[in-house]
């Protein structure tokens, strides 16, 4: 579920065509803001789930598409062995917005009874479990904008440790006035377009979306003749322990997360064929990520294609790295890597390959998916073509 389309096929078609999903915010009035751009999921019909918060609606829709795409009939499975692991930045912030709107209008007594109980972010994976009658482990990992990678990592872990046979893992975040106010007040939102890594980049664009990946043990996937988009080799996480919102200036945590992911995967930096950048489009984040990649990859850095799909779909918060993990998997599966759109001029002295403005047919086998977040959280996921 993304600002450029719902479903694997449409998302991938639009992503590799450089379609823009960013436009004026429609879900609330931005006239009191200095900026107006957002990346919203349009034409989404949550029929049947009207009572759920938008975060849950997006997540349940993505989970349904993922299960359909996998060809797995969960009703024929031991459902105590199927779990849900999701990531998010804000969970169901719309419930807090409705709570505040209601008490501003008519006082706290007027707040409907069912709003606040739908706020805690664990309702999102629980709603997936309820929708598909899944009885395994079920949790939310709200590690902000790196959350999708954390959630996929947890799914990977509990399959490897034999606790589950199948995991629905990903991330979801609805468009939120709270998030928008915060980034707007920090001056972090781009006024006209999102230009990751471009010298004249002016910020990020808040977005919304959800992505769910179906993870299963390799043997089981092979045995049932599944389409295997990618293999999860490993992941790495770290904390900058430096500042709540600003990345470590030398990219300390980002480097350690990538290095840990590669080490766990039994791979070296020399083998990486593509990096899906966190690349939000803010001056500092992109600079630090470039420093981190340059430091870890050394002389080879300029030969590793690295793109940011946030140039098209904005920053979908906790869903971002899950959507990007889908993009990485499809890049591996199809041999095409998506571009960084709106890229015109590199930073002073930068020679990294940002795959500017056009998708590229290559043959990525080993891919790193980077994600960084408030709280100094860093997570890198290593995906590969099945050998």
């Amino acid at each position: 579920m993304t600002p450029i389309g719902a479903g694997r096929a449409l998302f991938w078609k639009n992503l590799t065509a450089g379609v823009n999903g960013i436009g004026p915010v429609e879900s609330f009035d931005t006239s009191a803001f200095p900026v107006h751009l957002g990346a919203e999921v349009k034409d989404f019909d949550p029929s049947g789930n009207e009572k759920l918060g938008r975060g849950s609606q997006l997540a349940v829709a993505a989970a349904r598409m993922a299960l359909d795409d996998s060809g797995i009939d969960v009703t024929a499975r031991d459902r105590s062995r199927i779990g849900v692991s999701m990531g998010t930045t804000s969970g169901e912030p719309g419930m807090i917005e409705r709570y505040n709107d209601a008490r501003k209008a008519d006082g706290v007594q007027s707040v409907p009874v069912d709003i606040l109980p739908k706020y805690p972010c664990n309702v999102v994976p629980s709603n997936i479990a309820i929708e598909f009658d899944l009885h395994g482990p079920c949790l939310m990992i709200p590690t902000a904008c790196a959350a999708g990678n954390y959630a996929i990592g947890y799914g990977f872990d509990v399959i490897r440790s034999g606790r589950t046979d199948l995991m629905l893992a990903g991330g979801a975040d609805p468009f939120s006035r709270i998030t928008y106010m915060g980034f707007a007040r920090l001056g972090a939102i781009a006024p006209e377009r999102c230009q990751p890594f471009d010298k004249n980049r002016k910020g990020m664009v808040p977005g919304e979306g959800a992505a769910v990946l179906v993870l299963e043990p390799l043997d089981a996937a092979v045995a049932r003749g599944a389409t295997i988009y990618a293999e999860v080799l490993g992941y790495g996480v770290s904390c900058d322990s430096h500042h709540m919102t600003a990345a470590h200036p030398q990219g300390d945590g980002a480097i350690r997360a990538m290095a840990m992911a590669l080490k766990e995967s039994g791979r070296s930096a020399d083998e990486v064929d593509y990096i899906s950048a966190h690349g939000t489009g803010t001056p500092t984040n992109d600079r630090v990520e470039a420093i981190a990649v340059r430091t870890l990859f050394g002389d080879r850095a300029s030969h590793v294609p690295m793109s940011s799909i946030k140039s098209m779909i904005g920053h979908t918060m906790g869903a971002a790295s899950a959507i990007e993990a889908v993009a990485c998997s499809l890049a591996i599966h199809t041999g095409v890597i998506p571009p960084t759109m709106n890229f015109e001029e590199p930073d002073e002295g930068s020679d990294l390959d940002y795959v500017p403005n056009e998708a590229r047919r290559t043959d990525p086998r080993i891919v790193l998916n980077n994600a960084y977040a408030f709280g100094g959280n860093n997570a890198s996921l290593c995906l590969a073509r099945l050998q």
Partner: protein, 401 residues
């Protein structure tokens, strides 16, 4: 994946005490932290950390920007780190293999609501940008990492009322996969008007202001708050640095009832399955369990479901197993509950006696609760945590003394 994970230290702040010693003393004396809650207003009853002042543990530097959750978590982390000699040096770089896994349910909801409220009432141009970082759900964990120089994994886990147990399980898996050598793991929850209102509006708060876990006349839950963290390490790394292993994380089980987002499943299928999985994960039979730390909080449906699950697993032997429902003392501390209950189980295994259930006078279902401490036999304790969103978790611990 064969590494054993052990507990080498702990920190706790709750309505019944700050620090493991005070917590233990009050718990075993049958004290309850439940009473009038200045934080929630004149008439509200809760298990509040009264007159909370983080200064003795954290000093004054950098405290102002922390919200209540972050302060509670930072205090528990300070205690847990110092209890096992892993405090990071002031001005030092911090250990990249030392991290934090924090369970929470509502997270920073009060900060989020206040931030949005200021936007709604004063306009978006007037929100305080300094408060924005506190609006992400993982802000307490991020703040604790900065405060205590924790450079390893920094995860926040949200699974409703069972968040604390999931956090311990998540940290144990992380250690077993070799991604860290030492992890603080547990939970935090602050009392605030938003979470209180959420529970009060659906009618699950005790009108009498007195939870009676498993009691025939129970009329609901009383909310609590606090933070409890364990220091978890692999047995090998604890041994290598000469740290004493107090407990072993033997088994974890989790199951979702996939039934309703706001109701306990009366049949207790998920709860039963979670306990059975935890026993199987620990490779022990139900007979090896010496005591049960129950998640019961006075909830009419929730306590009944738990009793049902225990009966399913233990059969007629259930009447012989000492049970404690410590939420009678520290309240339903939501995302911190699992960690507070696990800490209670660890203390019980260490003393070979389970604490009293505060204010206990009678139990339904033949459960062996008591108003006084009860001696326990066997090396294993079961910790239950069952949530009203259908999520169930159970943890099996082994005493190592």
């Amino acid at each position: 994946m064969s590494a054993r994970v052990v507990v080498t230290g702990a920190g706790v702040i709750s309505s019944i005490g700050a620090g493991v010693e005070e917590f233990e003393r009050n718990l075993y004396a049958g004290c309850s932290g439940i009473g009038p809650s200045p934080l929630l207003g004149e008439t509200a009853v809760a298990a509040e950390v009264r007159n909370f002042n983080p200064q003795p543990w954290l000093g004054n530097k950098g405290i102002r920007v922390l919200d209540r959750s972050a302060r509670l978590l930072c205090v528990a982390a300070q205690m847990a780190l110092s209890s096992t000699g892993l405090q990071q040096q002031e001005g030092g770089e911090g250990d990249p293999n030392l991290g934090l896994v924090c369970g929470t349910m509502f997270g920073s909801v009060h900060s989020i609501t206040s931030f949005d409220w200021s936007g709604v009432t004063d306009g978006p141009a007037y929100v305080n940008p300094m408060e924005f970082p506190n609006t992400v759900i993982n802000s307490p964990a991020g703040q604790a990492a900065i405060k205590h120089k924790l450079r390893g994994v920094n995860s926040t886990i949200s699974a409703g009322l069972v968040s604390g147990l999931y956090a311990i399980h998540y940290a144990a898996e992380f250690l077993m996969f070799g991604r860290a050598t030492a992890l603080l793991a547990g939970g935090v929850e602050e009392l605030c008007e938003e979470s209180f209102l959420s529970f009060r509006k659906v009618g699950v708060i005790s009108e009498r202001g007195c939870p009676q876990p498993f009691g025939a006349d129970r009329d609901g839950t009383v909310l609590g708050e606090g933070s409890a963290l364990w220091m978890l390490e692999t047995a090998d790394s604890a041994r290598a640095r000469g740290a004493t292993a107090l407990l072993e994380i033997s088994g974890f089980g989790a199951a979702h009832d996939a039934h309703n987002i706001q109701a306990f499943s009366v049949r207790a299928d998920g709860a039963t399955s979670a306990i059975r999985q935890a026993l199987a994960d620990a490779a022990i039979a139900p007979e090896a369990i010496g005591c049960v730390i129950a998640g019961a909080s006075g909830s009419r449906a929730g306590d009944e479901m738990e009793a049902h699950a225990l009966r399913n697993v233990f059969g007629p032997r259930l009447e012989q197993i000492p049970v404690c429902a410590p939420k009678a003392a520290f309240g339903e501390a939501l995302g911190a509950s699992g960690a507070l209950c696990a800490l209670t189980a660890g203390l019980a295994l260490g003393k070979r006696a389970i604490p009293p259930t505060a204010g206990f006078h009678s139990a339904q279902n033949g459960l062996r609760l008591s108003a006084g401490p009860q001696n326990i036999e066997g090396d294993y304790a079961l910790v239950n945590c069952f949530g009203c969103d259908g999520n169930n978790a159970a943890l099996v611990l082994k005493g190592l003394n």
